[in-house]
């Protein structure tokens, strides 16, 4: 527990969201430094840092930026603040407690991709966060960090807050763009990818809040400093939102590669009422379960992938020994059923079907063949849709059923 938080360093200090406070500890120095560099050099620095997207997919950030075609203008940035993966609440902390860290990251990114227009897409439920970010934008505009000729460097940048209306799907890159464009937030077909044809048909980068918040620190302290944390393939540090049956739920920032056991038992204080763990959701509700025998797994992209799960958004939910797994998955299936946009047939019909099936089992009306049918429905849903919401619903369903089949079977009366 020797790691000193970087992203969340100041969040518990009063007025941490104010410009004066931010400037009092070298705020906006990273942005100034970036703007004195060649944009390509900034991208190279971020590439060298090995920073990977913190929204869930873990795509290398610098590489994503380099997909922007050189000859197509304008370029847009959409900061994804639609944090809605169940269990995830890390971005919210940054929005509410350190918005200037995010704005500085946005400035650095926009300079690197030469975008004069950034949107911060904040989920509808984050009323306070949106208010604070808007206030921070106003402060930054007054300082000349946002607007025309920022930092006197001849570069214009405008930042707007866009509010979501509560749809989970708008956290998906292309759905977010559709929503910003003013349409119903439906995901779009890929290719073309947003970096080439994105917002309003123009090249667009979508980066998560936490990803962007990393940038000022990388600019200030360098790629090598960033790489000194974490593992070779997962450099840096990450905020884990720990919830469920733990004594101290909350956001914990640790270097990537920290063992799951350490995060649960040392940072989060262990399991509530000192019960046993039945399972852990390691990276948000759509990631497959980690079982108690796997608690020594290190929390980095490659280890979780090797274990058949995903680091995802870093939302760790601990389920203790008393949890009914049928009940737990029913809750998730209800969520995905509710949030499917309804475009693609497998997701539109599959999510509803799964919810109804699981509910029936939960109510004691299950039939033997239901379990095989669930697995086949999941197979028919996976990898066949425009976006991955369908997979996000099928993955936990399969994981819960395969890992805790006896609990499902116990609820089926013949």
């Amino acid at each position: 527990m020797a790691f000193e938080p970087v992203l969340l360093k100041y969040i518990n200090i009063e007025n941490s969201e104010k410009m004066d406070f931010y400037l009092s500890h070298n705020g906006y120095e990273g942005a100034k430094k970036a703007l004195s560099m060649d944009p390509k050099a900034v991208t190279e620095e971020v590439k060298a840092s090995g920073l990977r997207g913190r929204g869930g997919a873990g795509f290398p950030t610098g590489l994503k930026w380099s997909f922007i075609p050189a000859d197509k203008k304008p370029v847009y940035l959409s900061c994804n603040a639609d944090e809605s993966e169940p269990g995830t609440f890390k971005d919210r902390y940054i929005l509410e407690r350190d918005p200037h860290e995010l704005l500085e990251g946005i400035i650095i990114c926009c300079w690197a991709i030469q975008s004069n227009q950034a949107y911060i897409y904040i989920r509808g439920e984050f009323t306070l966060g949106a208010k604070i970010v808007n206030r921070a934008i106003k402060e930054a505009r007054e300082k000349g960090y946002i607007g025309k000729n920022i930092f006197g460097k001849g570069f214009d940048l405008d930042v707007f807050v866009m509010r979501g209306a509560g749809a989970y799907i708008c956290g998906e890159e292309t759905a977010q763009l559709t929503s910003i464009e003013g349409s119903r937030g439906n995901p779009k077909l890929k290719p073309p990818f947003p970096a080439v044809v994105g917002l309003f048909g123009k090249p667009t980068i979508i980066n998560n809040v936490e990803t962007l918040a990393n940038l000022p620190h990388i600019m200030n302290k360098g790629a090598d400093w960033h790489k000194s944390f974490g593992t070779e393939k997962s450099p840096g540090f990450k905020i884990f939102s720990v919830s469920g049956h733990v004594k101290k739920p909350g956001n914990y920032e640790v270097p990537l590669g920290t063992p799951l056991r350490e995060i649960i038992y040392e940072y989060a204080g262990g399991v509530l009422n000192d019960k046993k763990i039945k399972a852990v959701i390691p990276g948000g509700s759509s990631t497959p379960l980690i079982t108690p025998d796997q608690l020594d797994i290190t929390m980095d992209y490659e280890s979780l992938q090797a274990a058949g799960s995903m680091l995802g958004s870093g939302a760790i939910t601990v389920l203790d020994e008393d949890v009914c797994m049928v009940d737990a998955i029913w809750n998730l299936m209800r969520f995905y059923h509710h949030e499917s946009c309804g475009q693609c047939t497998p997701c539109r019909e599959g999510t509803g079907w799964l919810e109804k099936l699981v509910r029936r089992i939960k109510m004691g009306e299950g039939r033997k063949e239901d379990l095989d049918n669930i697995l086949e429905i999941c197979a028919n849903m996976q990898g066949k849709t425009i976006c991955v919401l369908s997979d996000a619903a099928a993955m936990p369903m399969k994981s819960y059923l395969n890992t805790f089949k006896h609990e499902f079977e116990a609820m089926i009366r013949d």
Partner: protein, 528 residues
């Protein structure tokens, strides 16, 4: 699509090499080469939505099944449309599509031409596994011609895209989410545009149905005949569906050079005159029914009398722009051979405003064959002989007028009616009783375009064919037949040719020199 480049790309589909234009999608490449790829949301005249997931195919080097509608062909692409995992994926999609579907085929208007039925045959399960409660959605009138059955809807958004892209009227959208998604009209709107019923055609299932056709016939009992629409100068390609010799509906037929897959509601719905009580049952003279032989003899006598009395100077023809090329040509021949060539006048429906939609046009010229008249008689000739010129002629003294109508609902030029009493003798060739038949001394009943063969030329100079869709109602004969019988009677010999036979003679005209009637086919051919 091919404006940037029209280079060819070679790819391998199901083990066979094909060369297709670069930039085409995989589904186009397959369909153009006769390879079936099942689909719901894809429609060749609408943008790609990629939501039904039925057109999944296996493409080498793409890890997941790809949708053929949104995959652009690339050089060396290797595609399998029938791989076992693809068939399985489609079976999965088929099952999902029917999960919340009411399976009410026995009472569904779409039955028999439903894509759900068609693909169920190939990819469906014999036993349903869905044992839960189905989602129920609304049933609603979207407008006076379009009804929506939400439970049958598969949310493919073809109808939404039609109103966005083709009509530009934007009445429809998807409302609600997930399996509660349904199509609806925006609050306070109705789908009442002149192209509204195309949403019924583009709907691949029974969700959008025509209020006019609803419960009129089971589609598999109907006779389907290709035709063209005559309601304006565009000449949309159509298919006429009839049951027991009664027309039940007219639907658009694909012709990429004319109407794509669409037509207007006016053309689609205006067929009741074919079965109307005002249809003329048999030739009539002075209010009495006579036989066709008597009719032709009388026609001949009246013409001969008029010629003898006035040396051809006192007989005129008034021909509508609704007549087919063959009839027009025979009128020309008749006047050339037996009468004074200058005695043909033309009338048309009044010009209306063009109605232009983002991707569709309804012409303000509500006549199907102005171009045919211009081609056969010449533009100059046509321009100099409007009804006004005929009226002058009448006022100078006209003995006999032969009227060849053909407009729906017995429409005749109003201005003519005031002066018609000045003409001694009026002979009418038309299919319905009208103001003018009341004043006719001889009526020779003709046929509507749905009962005869012939050709028309649209305003883009496209020569198109009509074929009989139903047997003649009543005792009418095609004008081109009657005119030949008359000419034979005048000559005392000759045979009566079919439309194609007359067309062969018409090839003496420059415009038709290179045209073979049989080569016109169902999609027409451009002339000149």
């Amino acid at each position: 699509m091919s404006d940037t480049t029209n280079t060819m790309v070679s790819l391998r589909i199901n083990g066979k090499e094909y060369k297709v234009e670069s930039g085409t999608t995989l589904i186009q490449a397959c369909h153009n080469n006769g390879i079936d790829v099942p689909h719901y949301c894809y429609h060749k005249d609408l943008s790609v939505a990629g939501n039904c997931r039925m057109c999944l195919v296996k493409v080498e080097k793409i890890p997941k099944p790809a949708i053929a509608c949104a995959t652009i062909v690339t050089e060396g692409m290797v595609v399998d449309t029938q791989a076992p995992e693809i068939v399985k994926a489609r079976e999965g999609v088929m099952e999902f599509l029917l999960v919340n579907h009411p399976l009410d085929c026995p009472v569904c208007d779409q039955a028999g031409e439903c894509k759900l039925q068609d693909y169920s045959y190939t990819y469906g399960r014999s036993v349903g596994r869905f044992k839960e409660e189905k989602v129920v959605k609304h049933t609603k009138d979207f407008g006076s011609h379009v009804k929506y059955w939400g439970t049958r809807c598969i949310v493919c958004t073809r109808c939404v895209r039609f109103t966005d892209e083709i009509s530009g009227t934007q009445e429809l959208a998807v409302f609600n989410r997930g399996d509660h998604s349904e199509i609806d009209i925006f609050p306070g709107m109705e789908i009442e545009n002149p192209l509204s019923m195309n949403v019924v055609d583009v709907c691949p299932v029974g969700a959008l149905v025509s209020s006019d056709f609803l419960y009129q016939a089971r589609v598999w009992f109907m006779e389907q005949k290709n035709s063209i629409c005559l309601e304006c100068s565009v000449g949309c390609n159509t298919r006429i569906d009839s049951l027991d010799n009664e027309i039940k509906r007219i639907v658009p037929r694909d012709n990429q050079d004319v109407n794509k897959s669409f037509m207007c509601d006016y053309g689609r719905l205006n067929f009741n005159y074919v079965h109307h009580a005002s249809r003329i049952e048999s030739p009539m003279a002075e209010g009495k029914h006579i036989s066709w032989k008597e009719g032709i003899d009388l026609f001949k006598k009246k013409i001969q009398d008029s010629i003898n009395k006035n040396k051809g100077k006192s007989l005129a023809f008034l021909v509508s722009a609704w007549n087919d090329n063959e009839t027009l040509y025979l009128v020309q021949r008749l006047t050339k051979d037996f009468l004074n060539e200058s005695d043909v006048f033309f009338f048309m429906k009044e010009r209306e405003k063009d109605q232009i939609f983002p991707k569709f046009r309804i012409s303000g010229d509500r006549n199907p064959n102005v171009q045919g008249i211009k081609t056969i008689f010449g533009t100059d000739y046509f321009d100099k002989r409007p009804v006004k010129a005929l009226l002058e002629r009448i006022n100078q003294g006209l003995d006999t007028l032969v009227f060849l109508g053909g407009l729906p609902n017995g429409k005749v030029p109003k201005e003519l009616m005031d002066d018609l009493d000045k003409v001694r003798d009026t002979i009418v060739m038309d299919y319905s009783h009208s103001e003018i038949t009341k004043k006719a001394s001889l009526i020779l009943p003709s046929l509507t375009y749905m009962e005869k063969s012939g050709s028309y030329i649209n305003d883009q100079k496209r020569l198109q064919r009509i074929l009989p869709a139903i047997d003649p109602i009543g005792g009418g004969k095609a004008d081109s037949i009657v005119l030949q019988e008359l000419m034979n009677a005048l000559k005392g010999e000759g045979s009566v040719l079919s439309a194609s036979g007359v067309f062969d003679q018409m090839r003496s005209l420059n415009a038709f020199k290179e045209v073979n009637y049989r080569a016109i086919t169902d999609n027409g051919i451009p002339i000149e």
